[in-house]
């Protein structure tokens, strides 16, 4: 059977499934006890496996099969989710993604996944490295050289190896806290704090998170890189109170490599008893947890259904352009037909034309919306990215996404991904400080990165804001001078705000800056030029100590907004609904003159009343001749102004178009739109009236 015709469908659906898998996994990580999420993940993985097998992508199918085995155990309460399993599953997802990408690119979807598959198999067999069962033995176990109490993964192993080669000391430290200690987590934290001051903890067992939550006995062990020698470290830790015993053993190259061998052997023969013990231990705890999860289900279920894969087809964007243009021509003909029908006065004809008018109105809406895509399509991969990044940097970061439903033109969406990734990475890497620094400056240990999208005027704004250390303008100026971007004299005339914008200057970004100026400035000029090429702009605001905000402004070309259409004389204007507070009618007697400005009373305060017909010099209307004036109250931030118009026509979804390159910026006009009858109406920019 020829599968080619199904290929694109397969790719689309696989991507949808992978996305929902990713999202569910994130949800599960935040809420590991919630078995219902596991069910969702299991179903997605199962569907994916079925599709892959049908299409003949064996590697894809076998990997999903292994994932399914793990998930099945979790689903049946035979296995508890923990960091290691999460990491392996996330790695599997990444592998699946790259396979699907390969298939998309015309490849076979083949990839070497043996490593992942074998670790998944190990999990299924219950060989969770350093499983909970080992915890009790930790204190008892003597820290003999090379005895792999903690299994290291390849990356950590290579870190240790490298440190040795560079002449650092690699220590295996075993700490026991006195049994009568009240706050063992605090003691443990003090040990870590002490160690971090003169070196780096590569891996600890139990994990730092578990220790923080007191999920450990009275001892823990860790691998540590430092310049100091073992006895000194031992003495330092013992100086802390309530520490019972410390053993620090220096490792050498030989013991390390021995460890590496044992590591692979250990995974093969680890005791199968571990998971049993674990699940029995967790069984009593699970009962209340399950009921709690059930309660939560009611609330979280609708959210999850929102993430269900949507049914889509792919369409070349150029075809949409053609469709749009053809449709506009049809509109013009429709208007002509309507005119003719009204002249001919034939009932049947009029009826048909009216029906046609309604249908084409609906059609117009759909055609115009086709190109619009919610920014969610770009945003949805960020939570995962930030999670991974934060983990690798040992930071705690909450990514808060708002306004994901904001729609942007497809072409902009396609281009905006990379710059946003760059800005987000910056925020996570350099914006948010390390846990220690945050605690030291009196902040909570978890940093927050806000990712916001919203409409404003004729632009969409995307903001990436962190609550990190902020940027010091002086440092920016210094390195800008050093790099020859500005001269000493120029620097003197720069305000703080201007100085920070130098981050975007070409040539500012070099590796050296990373350490100089809290790391900002890596390739930001590329980000800027990309956004500028889309007709947008990017600026940065920063308060030292409070955080940094990168604000990306994108044009709304072809974007659809809801607007109120108003009539002034023979002319029609559109006012974006987002800036309208209220519409109403005021009598001429209610209008007062204060300091020569016309004001009206509105919600217990006085706001200025502006005549649109005067402002735009409309030739055939003057509201001062009327007894009552229709007003539209618009706002910019907190400030309000009332605009006098002749009539309200109604509310409409409009497509924003620019006025063409030839026209210079017109004050008070942000763009134009084409109305249902083919006429052009100008879009009022309310921001212009409020200074």
């Amino acid at each position: 059977m020829d599968m080619n015709q199904y290929l694109s469908m397969f790719i689309d659906e696989s991507n949808d499934h992978l996305q929902s898998l990713n999202e569910s996994m994130m949800g599960l990580e935040a809420n590991p006890e919630d078995i219902s999420i596991v069910q969702v993940i299991f179903r997605s993985a199962h569907t994916l496996k079925g599709m892959a097998a049908t299409m003949g992508f064996e590697d894809l199918a076998s990997l999903t099969h292994q994932m399914e085995n793990v998930l099945d155990l979790v689903r049946n309460n035979k296995l508890r989710m923990q960091d290691f399993i999460f990491d392996t599953l996330f790695k599997s997802l990444d592998a699946l993604e790259s396979m699907v990408e390969d298939i998309t690119g015309g490849g076979e979807g083949k990839a070497d996944v043996t490593a992942i598959v074998s670790s998944l198999q190990a999990i299924v067999r219950g060989e969770v490295p350093a499983a909970a069962g080992a915890a009790a033995e930790v204190t008892a176990a003597a820290a003999t050289t090379g005895d792999a109490q903690i299994s290291l993964d390849e990356f950590q192993y290579s870190v240790l190896e490298q440190s040795l080669q560079e002449g650092h000391q690699v220590l295996y430290v075993d700490v026991a806290i006195r049994k009568d200690c009240q706050l063992k987590a605090v003691r443990a934290y003090m040990v870590f704090d002490l160690l971090e001051r003169s070196g780096e903890v590569v891996k600890s067992f139990p994990s730092v998170q578990d220790i923080e939550q007191e999920k450990f006995d009275y001892g823990f062990s860790l691998y540590y890189i430092t310049q100091k020698d073992a006895s000194e470290i031992q003495r330092m830790i013992l100086n802390l109170s309530e520490i019972d015993k410390v053993t620090a053993v220096a490792l050498d190259q030989e013991s390390l490599s021995q460890m590496a061998q044992e590591m692979s052997a250990a995974t093969a023969e680890a005791s199968p008893a571990a998971p049993v013990q674990e699940s029995s231990a967790s069984a009593p705890a699970k009962a209340p947890a399950a009921s709690a999860a059930k309660e939560e289900n009611g609330k979280s279920a609708p959210v999850r259904t929102g993430g269900a894969p949507s049914r889509t087809i792919r369409v070349d964007i150029e075809r949409l352009d053609v469709l749009m243009n053809l449709f506009s021509e049809l509109l013009i003909d429709r208007v002509r037909l309507e005119q003719l029908a009204s002249e001919v006065q034939n009932g049947d004809l009029t009826e048909t034309v009216e029906h046609m008018g309604r249908v084409s109105g609906d059609l117009q809406n759909i055609v115009m919306k086709l190109r619009m895509v919610p920014v969610d399509t770009v945003f949805n991969r960020f939570p995962r990215m930030v999670r991974d990044l934060a983990k690798s940097l040992d930071k705690k970061i909450d990514l808060v996404v708002t306004g994901a439903e904001t729609e942007l033109d497809r072409t902009v969406i396609d281009e905006i991904g990379d710059p946003l990734v760059h800005l987000l990475r910056n925020a996570v890497d350099h914006g948010v400080e390390s846990i220690q620094d945050r605690l030291a400056s009196g902040k909570s240990d978890t940093g927050t990165v806000n990712l916001r999208a919203f409409h404003s005027g004729n632009h969409v704004f995307i903001e990436i804001e962190d609550d990190g250390a902020g940027i010091k303008p002086q440092k920016i100026l210094q390195s800008a001078i050093k790099k020859g971007i500005i001269t000493q004299e120029q620097a003197a005339s720069y305000s703080d705000d201007e100085a920070i914008q130098l981050l975007f200057a070409p040539g500012f970004s070099t590796a050296e800056v990373i350490s100089d100026v809290s790391g900002r400035g890596v390739g930001l000029d590329v980000v800027k030029s990309k956004i500028t090429s889309l007709g947008g702009n990017v600026v940065v605001y920063s308060t030292p100590g409070k955080g940094t905000n990168f604000s990306v402004q994108l044009p709304l070309t072809l974007s659809i907004i809801a607007a109120m259409l108003v009539k002034i004389g023979s002319e029609k204007y559109a006012i974006p609904l987002s800036s309208i507070v209220e519409t109403g009618i005021v009598k001429n007697t209610q209008i007062r003159t204060i300091h020569g400005n016309r004001m009206i009373e509105f919600r217990n305060s006085h706001i200025p009343l502006l005549s649109l017909s005067k402002f735009y010099a409309v030739p055939d209307f003057d509201e001062s001749t009327e007894e009552e004036t229709e007003i539209v109250v618009v706002r910019k931030g907190e400030r309000l102004v009332a605009l006098a118009v002749q009539d309200f026509i109604g509310q409409n979804e409009i497509v924003i178009k620019n006025l063409g390159k030839y026209l210079p910026e017109v004050q008070g006009i942000s763009g134009a739109t084409i109305l249902g009858d083919g006429q052009v109406a100008l879009i009022i920019d309310p921001n212009a009236f409020i200074k």
Binding site: M324, N325, F327, S328, E329, I332, E571, F615, Y616, A617, V618, K657, N658, L659, G660, K661, Y662, L663, P664, V666, Q667, G668, I669, A672, I674, G678, Q679, V680, A681, L682
Partner: protein, 153 residues
Amino acid sequence: MADDIKVIVFKLGSEEYGIEVEKVQTIERMMPITRVPKTYSFIKGVINLRGVVIPVIDLRGRFGIQEAEHTDQTRIIIVNVNEMEVGFIVDSANDVIDLNRDSIDTPPDVVGGIKAKYLDGVAKIGEDRLLIMLNLTEVLNKSEIVQLESLEG
């Protein structure tokens, strides 16, 4: 020998002007124009040309000639220069002719009241027809408009 070029011929008053055919997108009949406030007086507004909003200039106004009532003959010539789409309102447009580049002479300083910088040259067709070739880039030059505006204002 220079090449032949195709030229669209249009009229402003009694003068005949030419624009190279490659720069012309379409020629449209008069259609509803939406006035754009707070801009130059010769910019008549914008039109909807098959879904694209295009600004329209009254060429008479641009060249400082008395503007005329629009008639049945009035046309909007849509040109595309330097990726700018602009419509020109002209009195009439009804001819396409072949022109040899050699027959285009450098213009005298002032032709029909239009400054020489807006012109590419003047071509003589037949016995008594003079065709004024427009330099579109100059006609659409915005920096010059700004100067013009500051003089007026």
